[in-house]
Symmetry: C2
Subunit: 368 residues, 2 copies
């Protein structure tokens, strides 16, 4: 038989073989060592609302049925909560899916896109995957540099500007007023993707009012963090109807898991649960800050469910991540300088924080 | 505030606002009438394996964790079953997701793609969504015309040829020998997407041996049909390692639901369940054939979990679908001529078949 190379597109041929993140399961396979503590992917250590769990259990009875491709019940509930129209909402299999959709809708080969140097790798993966040209702006003291981002967007005529607020991987945040000013200053052909995966953990001053019909803003939210449903893969975006209609032209209409739909809808009926999670996380963050100080490092103030701890240099950060992994503890660190002089640790439950603190102390003693 | 239209890509601007399928939930919303019998989307009426259900129930405890982005356990099990290497397998959120991935990998604007006129709308949706040029070959007596498909692929220099075997929406099938001949005859730059969503329902003679390293064939399988997990959104593709590696450059790595992963893996340990489903469906198909004959119509022989019934003309088919919907019964019909002179009915459980038969008899009496 003739062996012919499959005729991939030009773009695919040129792409590097990288993945945004190595999963903890792969680390287990690589090291042969089971992970006993998962604090590396900012998965919630506080579970899901009992209402959501019960709804998902019930929904298992209907697992043979495709989910509603219009996600109508969930969009209706979200529209009510956010004071927007359901035509301004799209549901996806998590923010990763929605980022791909947004990139596909706005980015063709050569299109300039602006973000911070060290921002969410999966966003960058999608931009590269559709041939976009990434332009980076350095963080300023662990924070996204809003003025420089807009300046860069103007300079390169960017079609997309990506900002996570609160930020990942630093945990820092900007006030709603600052973000509003950034939106005002956007060049006319530039759309802001405002990734608010961690917004539930942010102070009230960081909550920008939602304007569903703004043509230049796409808000992204998820059930993966405060709602504790990362494994279910469900999130949403709010944008003007014209943008949502464009998404509908290409999105995977039957892509969302039916059980996830049921769980997300039920979650929304349990705001107390989310409030309790946020309180518990806030308590944990204080502990992490004290722990970092005790070890001679500095916790970066965080408005998320994780804390980035500045340990001084990248080699030390790498050593800590590797040593913890050998002890069965999974954390991560940012991939690029200068953020990579930090480790990023998810806020766990009390017993998990204790296990982490003990392990981290051992590692710190060893590397001194 | 200045209202600027968002700067969509050229491709997005040109795309029509269509969706591949209207979900039954949307029909309920449109008609205000609840659907009491879902026999339109070829969802399994026979549920999931008890092992899968139990695995999914247990996996709910870990819903806060992302699924393994490498899907290693499932790929390992599938590699063993199919006698291929796990590097030759990719997992996706159902075949729809994998079709999008394959199209994205092989199709850029203007690239010719060949399929049958009236084949799976979601495949066509993805080809159009990436700017591909669809070339159609008419069905021949309700069957894909394999020789004409290859002929057309050669004529237009197609990069992809899509074939569902067994076929949807007709239910017809070709022998493995016929498909092997088609593969032999593929022009060198053309890749065959062999969609085997319904293969479990096909006779042994239709099961083409799997050759994992064939550079021109992508096999697609799903847990949505015989395994009864449509709502979980999980399926897989088998292709040569080079193609799978290309998929890895752009796929949504953390896109698959963790509970679906657990359910799919457990399903594989229960081949008896699938065998029982297939037997029950075969019994149901015989009933449908007798029912069609009684009503003066003809059931097209089917190797799937549904039956296409030739009712003579498109207006009659439309009338039947609409009238059944008014009675709370959801079925579908093909969208294009000449297939649209048929209705497509999923094989349900015995009591559901009885309900359908009664309703269909009433409708038939009315339209005579």
């Amino acid at each position: 038989m003739k062996r012919v190379h499959p005729p991939f597109t030009q773009l695919i041929k040129q792409l590097p073989a990288t993945v945004p993140f190595v999963p903890p399961e792969a680390l287990e396979r690589q090291t042969g060592q089971p992970i006993r503590l998962r604090l590396g992917a900012n998965e919630s250590d506080f579970g899901v609302s009992p209402l959501a769990k019960e709804a998902m259990r019930r929904a298992l009875k209907e697992v043979s049925w495709y989910g509603d491709s219009e996600n109508d019940a969930l969009r209706t509930a979200l529209a009510h909560i956010h004071g927007v129209r359901k035509e301004e909402i799209v549901i996806g299999s998590g923010i990763d899916d929605l980022l791909e959709l947004a990139v596909r809708t706005f980015v063709e080969p050569g299109v300039p896109v602006v973000t911070s140097l060290g921002s969410y790798p999966t966003f960058q993966f999608h931009v590269t995957g559709f041939g976009g040209q990434l332009h980076f702006v350095p963080y300023c003291e662990w924070k996204n540099d809003l003025e420089a981002l807009v300046e860069k967007a103007r300079e390169v005529d960017a079609r997309l500007l990506y900002l996570a607020n609160p930020d990942n991987p630093t945990g820092t945040w900007h006030s709603a007023d600052d973000v509003a000013r950034l939106i005002e200053a956007l060049p006319p052909r530039c759309v802001l993707i405002l990734d608010e995966a961690y917004i539930e953990f942010a102070p009230p001053s960081a909550h920008l009012p939602i304007q569903g019909d703004h043509p230049q803003v796409i808000r992204m939210r998820t059930f993966s963090k405060a709602y504790g449903m990362a494994g279910a893969r469900i999130g949403y975006a709010i944008a003007c109807e014209e943008t949502i209609s464009a998404f509908d032209k290409v999105r995977l209409h039957f892509g969302v898991n039916r059980i996830a739909q049921a769980g997300a809808l039920a979650s929304l009926q349990d705001p107390d649960f989310v409030r309790d999670v946020v309180n518990a996380v806030n308590e944990g963050k204080k502990e992490y800050e004290a722990m970092a100080e005790e070890l001679g490092w500095r916790a970066i103030p965080s408005a998320t469910n994780f804390v980035a701890i500045d340990v001084g240099d990248a080699d030390r950060a790498r050593r800590i991540v590797d040593d913890l992994l050998k002890m069965g503890i999974f954390i991560r660190m940012p991939g690029v300088s200068p953020l990579n002089r930090s480790i990023r640790v998810t806020v766990g439950k009390e017993e998990h924080r204790k296990q982490l603190a003990e392990a981290l102390k051992k590692v710190a003693d060893r590397i001194r």
